[in-house]
């Protein structure tokens, strides 16, 4: 079966600050990041849509002990953001000193840009991720 939206296409779009997802024609649920079936009803009839990239921080952490080859990035903030369209997405947060982040940021509105993880010897190439900033 063909993919409506592959990782490759999603990743390339994210590098252009475009967040793509899939909208199920059966149940209306939006699935982001993409899967081969709807994240709610497992239906296969879905349209590719572009999301706003705006949402609200649900939770966060500041990583002080990073994985191998990501030492230069630490400390960095990871956020889970609920997009206005419903899905949650994982990204990083800019605009605040990582070691100053507290639970106060939970619930704050954010908008999406992107940053690219260049990849390491295990990762099969690069991977973009949302880089959020405050205000939306």
């Amino acid at each position: 079966m063909e993919h409506k939206l592959s990782f490759k296409d999603y990743n390339e779009a994210l590098k252009q600050d475009k967040l793509l997802g899939l909208k199920c024609k059966q149940c209306g649920t939006i699935t982001v990041p993409p899967k081969i079936t709807c994240g709610q009803c497992a239906g296969t009839d879905m349209d590719v849509i572009e999301l706003s990239g705006k949402g609200e921080i649900q939770t966060f952490t500041t990583v002080f002990v990073p994985p191998e080859e990501r030492e230069a990035e630490a400390p960095y903030i990871i956020v889970l953001v609920q997009l206005d369209e419903g899905p949650w997405i994982m990204g990083n947060l800019a605009g605040i000193e990582p070691d100053k982040a507290t639970m106060e940021i939970m619930g704050k509105r954010v908008k999406m840009g992107h940053a690219v993880f260049a990849g390491d010897k295990y990762s099969d190439g690069d991977g973009a991720r949302p880089l959020f900033s405050f205000g939306a």
Binding site: T61, T62, P66, I78, S123
Partner: protein, 391 residues
């Protein structure tokens, strides 16, 4: 299905970096389990082995085949299970099925890992492979990072001030080390104080060093046999009366449930239903305390406490021996250690020892029914086993 019993258990001491290979460690645990079962290696009909990172830590693929040969179970079928930190429990569950089905009478399940060998940077990288490599890892996710985010979610959802929750979480680690100090097989045999937990360096906000389990090396193994065989070989068979397993996608796909882990709730229900038991029937539980908050989340997901109430229960001592549900009297992953591919059957090892009454100062008196809970990744796999004294 036939009844299946655990008739022998073995585990190495869990530790930091070992000079031994993962196959050698497995051999030690396996031979102890086989000897305890009054069997010989030739009696083992198949191996089910958890191992996650042998290829990264030692350049060793398919250790299960070499392990079978190493212990003298020549040419028997040997399969590896990779379910992140729940690998050995997944192996044990499948081993159970093969015996319950009648296909085999005696099999060996277990696991082995040399995670400490890798050092923190590579171990952190390879453990993160249990998250979604495409949609989570680019943001720099690590396992402490996952549970750090769940901590903030838990605090907010239940309206518990973070400072208060952190002290309750610290108590989880203090309890683990209290029991670990009494366990000669534990990685850390040293008590710690709440102040020490709260003074530790920050790993992933708000989790500090002693909120986190260590990277450990070690192995564990159990012999499973049909009821008929078990009765001939031992006076103290421990029956596997309930099994459960469930999966889940990445953290994002679990958004409707977090900080609850739906895979655990589904898995535990399967195990309780199969056993015809409920949480109140469990006398002792070895659960997956990879991080202090993970214990609190597990205590609720397994049904021992209401959602939002487990952290207070820990504070009141309800998870210690003598409390409502004694949890991790082995020291748990935090203090006994966490060689990820071996952890699940090491939990079974400890429950079997408890049911046999062999745990000395950390014995739960009169324990008849015990439970294990093993989590892989950020909920990607959860396995639960319920074990019952057969005499």
């Amino acid at each position: 299905m036939r009844k299946v019993a655990v008739i022998g258990v073995g585990m190495t001491k869990f530790s930091g970096k070992q000079d031994k290979t993962c196959v050698e460690l497995f051999g030690e645990a396996a031979m102890d389990a086989i000897n305890e079962a009054n069997l010989k290696p030739k009696d083992i009909q198949a191996l089910f082995v958890g191992n996650v990172l042998g290829d990264f830590s030692e350049g060793q693929g398919q250790p299960q085949a070499f392990a079978a040969d190493y212990i003298g179970a020549f040419n028997v079928p040997a399969n590896k299970y990779e379910n992140a930190c729940a690998s050995a429990s997944a192996a044990a569950r499948d081993a159970f099925m093969w015996v319950a089905s009648g296909f085999y009478d005696v099999v060996l399940a277990g696991g082995t890992e040399t995670a400490a060998k890798m050092g923190t940077p590579l171990a952190t990288r390879t453990f993160a492979m249990g998250s979604d490599s495409r949609y989570e890892y680019p943001a720099g996710i690590t396992f402490p990072g996952v549970f750090a985010m769940l901590t903030h979610l838990y605090a907010k959802k239940h309206g518990i001030p973070l400072e208060k929750l952190k002290r309750q979480m610290a108590q989880v680690s203090v309890n683990s080390h209290y029991y670990g100090a009494l366990n000669p097989k534990a990685h850390f045999q040293k008590e710690i104080t709440m102040d020490k937990v709260l003074d530790g360096f920050m790993v992933c906000q708000p989790l500090q060093l002693l909120d986190c389990c260590p990277f450990s090396d070690g192995a564990s193994a159990i012999v499973l046999a049909s009821e008929e065989k078990a009765k001939k070989l031992t006076d103290k068979p421990v029956y596997v009366v309930g099994i459960g397993q469930a999966s889940a996608g990445n953290l994002l796909s679990q958004k409707d449930y977090l900080p609850r882990l739906r895979s655990r709730e589904l898995s535990a229900k399967q195990a309780y239903d199969m056993a015809g038991l409920s949480p109140k029937d469990i006398d002792v539980c070895e659960l997956h305390d990879c991080f202090s908050i993970a214990t609190i989340i597990a205590l609720e997901g397994l049904g021992f406490f209401e959602f939002g109430k487990a952290s207070e229960a820990v504070e009141r001592g309800e998870t210690k021996i003598g409390g409502k549900i004694p949890v991790n009297p082995s020291g748990g992953l935090k203090s006994k250690g966490h060689p990820i591919g071996a952890t699940g059957t090491a939990q079974v090892y400890d429950i079997v020892k408890q049911l046999r009454g062999e745990c000395g100062e950390r014995q739960v008196e009169g324990a008849k029914t015990g439970m294990t809970d093993t989590l892989g990744g950020d909920g990607g796999t959860i396995v639960n086993l319920i074990l019952k004294r057969g005499w």
